[in-house]
Amino acid sequence: MNVSTGVRLTLRTVALGYLFVLLIVPIAVILFRTFEHGLGQFWEWITTPAAISALQLSLLIVAIVVPLNVIFGVVTALALVRGRFRGRGVIEAIVDLPFAVSPVVVGVALILLWGVGGWFGGVESLGFRVIFGLPGMVLATLFVTLPFIVREVEPVLHEIGEQQEEAASTLGANGWQTFWRITLPAIRWGLSYGIVLTVARSLGEFGAVIMVSSGFPGISQTLTLLVHSRYIDDYNEFGAYAAATLLMIVALVVLLLMTLLQRTRKSS
């Protein structure tokens, strides 16, 4: 589709204008407030012991959540798109449900399930702390990030159709070879964006994690909890902005990495 220059410029202006007002200006404000006192101050506040622990914890949660979501997310997307079974609509709606659940409710639900006196509360007596421990935070993050990879991969699977995979299987490739050589490369952009969104969402998750975290700095405070604590408890606005900027930087790095990996694979 070759669009005329006039139309192209109009579309571009509208899109960029919308993004400018809604996205660029707020982010610019955050960055301005973070760096207006200089890089030194910023560095100081993101290298306090509590901040480093918070970064480590956030990244640890991401490191657990992303691979799990990639594996199960791709399997779910394949089952939904390529599978032939009844009740597909119901399962697809279930996959989307985590979005509809307010973070407060996620926290409450997990506590009802895994907390003291909850359905699986007995797990505490085995010495295994879920709520107020790392597993609780991982479960909360898994809940809120579950839809992304499935959602991103599904439309792409629809779009590319089954022809190539059918061709491969008639040529004798087994399921695994078909997946690794044909399906996976075809869904890579969807998978990449899914991973980027999963990482961004995990980093930014607050409402559910604050309920299932014990909140002790250096031990169970993620970066978002640190931002919140700095602003609310410490009145340390600047520290809060600095940590928030750190979160955005990490999300950006992940995006750049995924794009870079896509580009290098494409060029090969």
């Binding site: 306090t48 480590q56 990244l59 014990s214 609310i232 408890d233 410490d234 290098t264 060029s267 090969s268």
Partner: protein, 365 residues
């Protein structure tokens, strides 16, 4: 080509990952160059509401300098009082708790985590510090706010957090209620005042004290009902804030005593140390530290010595005990209720009068 451009990227990533994830550099202090307070043979987990953090930041290092506290490491968790209390009830590791309102400790008594006689376990009902309800206004007090009646002047917008979303916010409304109802003797006048306040002068409902302060500082409203220690803190911050964020505060002539109790959790591993910490709060040194941080001390000698840290004349400071005694007469099937139990049932519970005012209130401005 592929090998070359991928390798340095992956190498850098791996290096960063190793550095960050191998746990180097972590800790619990959140200040550049701050001192670490987490080391020691014994350990105390302090779970508190958000407001006293500025105090504990001074108290804990001082405690660790004393003989009894020298070998105790601390972890501190802060948050909204109700949320923190619920967490402790669900067995978040805690040794000492400090909440904004007594019902948050009563919840733990019911859960069996705090002894029933916790009030007598330490002096002054186990409440080492407190505050009073104050009115924060813009620098220069342009709308001339000095009393509760001034809040009802036309065109005055009042910011106070919603008591439904923040238990700590109940104190803010008890002050005008007690003032207008003479300590509960005239409940109708008290309610009339609150109704008018909510109906005509309260527009936004921040969900916590801090959000209320942020809303006020962003330009909304003319008066912020707040704790005196928060007001002191905000005026101290004026030196570094922009002109539009500068504030001052006024003590209304009739206000309310805010009591923030502290208790030891009886399932603690460090019971002795936790008790030592609690008892130490009532020493001269600790009381002075609380006063310097803006919290009213409870030991009479220290109150006298630090009186100039709390400017402002008040005619009457109502207490929850007085109000509860009046409101609680015969409300429990003929029996009396006292203190917070009475106040909560009459004013803030599901069928409470102030709850009803808020439910019907909304905004008509």
């Amino acid at each position: 080509m592929r090998q070359r451009s991928r390798l340095p990227v992956l190498a850098a990533l791996a290096l960063t990952a190793v550095l960050v994830l191998t746990g180097c550099g972590g800790g619990s202090t959140d200040e550049p160059g701050g001192i670490d307070i987490s080391t020691g043979t014994h350990h105390i987990n302090l779970v508190a509401y958000a407001v006293p953090k500025v105090g504990f930041d001074e108290i804990i290092p001082a405690f660790r300098q004393t003989a009894v506290g020298s070998d105790i490491g601390f972890s501190q968790s802060y948050g909204a009082s109700g949320d923190q209390s619920r967490k402790v009830a669900r067995h978040v590791p805690a040794d000492v708790v400090n909440f904004s309102v007594e019902p948050d400790i009563t919840r733990l008594v019911k859960a069996g985590l705090v002894d029933e006689d916790w009030k007598s376990a330490a002096p002054y009902n186990s409440t080492p510090f407190g505050s009073v309800v104050a009115l924060v206004v813009r620098e220069g007090n342009p709308k001339n706010i000095h009393t509760w009646a001034d809040l009802l002047k036309p065109g005055v917008e009042v910011i106070t957090p919603n008591p439904a979303s923040s238990g700590s916010a109940k104190w803010n409304l008890l002050a005008p209620y007690a003032a207008a109802s003479s300590g509960g003797q005239d409940p109708e006048s008290g309610l009339a005042f609150i109704s008018q306040l909510v109906r005509d002068h309260i527009k936004v409902n921040p969900k916590s004290g801090r959000e209320a302060t942020t809303t006020f500082q962003s330009g909304q409203g003319d008066v912020l009902i707040s704790y005196e220690n928060e007001a002191i803190f905000l005026t101290k911050q004026n030196a570094s804030s922009s002109a539009s964020q500068q504030v001052e505060y006024v003590l209304p002539p009739v206000t309310f005593q805010i009591e923030n109790p502290m208790a030891v959790v009886n399932t603690s591993d460090s019971l002795t140390q936790a008790n030592d910490f609690l008892q130490w709060q009532f020493t001269d040194e600790a009381q002075h530290i609380w006063a310097e941080a803006g919290f009213r001390p409870v030991v009479p000698e220290v109150i006298a010595e630090t009186a100039d840290l709390f400017p402002g004349e008040t005619d009457k400071i109502w207490t929850i005990k007085e109000l509860g005694a009046v409101l609680g007469r015969g409300i429990d099937n003929g029996k009396d209720k006292t203190g917070w139990a009475a106040v909560d049932q009459v004013l803030f519970g599901a069928k409470g009068a102030i709850t009803a005012v808020y439910d019907k209130g909304g905004s008509t401005t």
